[in-house]
Amino acid sequence: MKIAITFLAILLSMSVALAIDTERAFDDPELQARYETIISEIRCLQCQNQSIKDSNVFLAADLRREIRRMLGEGKTDAQVYDFLVARYGEFALYRPRVGGKTLVLWLAPLLLLAGGAVIMLRVVRRRMTLPIDDEPAADE
């Protein structure tokens, strides 16, 4: 039974794969470019390591449809991102916006780099005071 369900699921997912919308969404090249940027910046929540541009699950298709609708209505990029973040949280953005809870995320690399620099500096400083020869240093 389980095998049958799995097989069915695979078959179903294949039929969805055929349905991915590849045609242009807008005639206006500028609008089309904005649309493509946005959909490549949004994480597909069902298949977390794909953007909704690359994903063919129905949720990604639904979100693409919503984004097309909003852009068609003349909404700005920021409005589209706000719409998605309000519903799915910052996690939906591949580049979370700076501020609030995501501040840690943005600052962590800098902090780690600074911490590493401090440690390296201290090690180098200490070694500079050691006598320059190949004799093993006396145990501290």
Partner: protein, 177 residues
């Protein structure tokens, strides 16, 4: 002196701790941005009576459970018997949003396995699902009488989840009888 030798060990232990915590977290489970915020309002055709409009107005002023389900969703089948139990013991009013489904299948499902819902709203194109930030059925929202989302559960409901996550909120949210 001893710290010099212990430091790497301590650093390693901290790293292991971080990994252990990281591995036990489910990356699929995201905090709902609606938590402690007003629940989205919706109005959709009823699953059973396509001409009738149902929605969040139907449970205004009362605590409610909103369950997002679909017949293609394996987890929904898993939790369905438990929803039936909840309905049978009148634990709370359960409202369904039948998400991205088709009507004959959904009706057959309710006929076959029972209907725990006060009603199911029929969200054929997934618009309302998007408004609720749904990304993986089943999802269950606990809505307070004031319309605030008190809790959201991703995945099948069962007795242990119910007792642990929902019951304390429900008894806190409604005055003791």
């Amino acid at each position: 002196m001893t710290f010099r030798y212990l430091a790497p060990l301590i650093a390693f232990a901290v790293l292991i701790l971080v990994f252990v915590i990281g591995l036990t977290l489910d990356p699929r489970e995201l905090p709902s941005p609606f938590l402690l915020k007003p629940a989205p309002v919706f109005e959709l055709p009823s699953l059973r009576e396509p001409e009738r409009r149902v929605g969040s107005a139907n449970y205004r002023g009362r605590m409610a459970l909103v369950n997002i389900w679909a017949t293609w969703c394996v987890g929904c089948r898993q939790e369905h018997d438990y929803l039936m139990q909840l309905a049978a013991r009148n634990a709370i009013d359960i409202y369904g949003i039948n998400w991205r489904d088709n009507r004959p299948d959904a009706l057959r499902w309710l006929q076959q396995f029972g209907d725990p819902y006060v009603f199911s709203a029929f969200d054929a194109d997934g618009r309302v699902g998007i408004d609720w930030g749904v990304y993986g059925a089943p999802e269950t929202f606990l809505i307070g009488a004031d319309g605030i989302v008190l809790y959201k559960h991703l995945g099948p409901l069962d007795e242990s989840v119910w007792q642990r996550d929902f019951v304390p909120l429900i008894s806190a949210g409604s005055p003791a009888p």
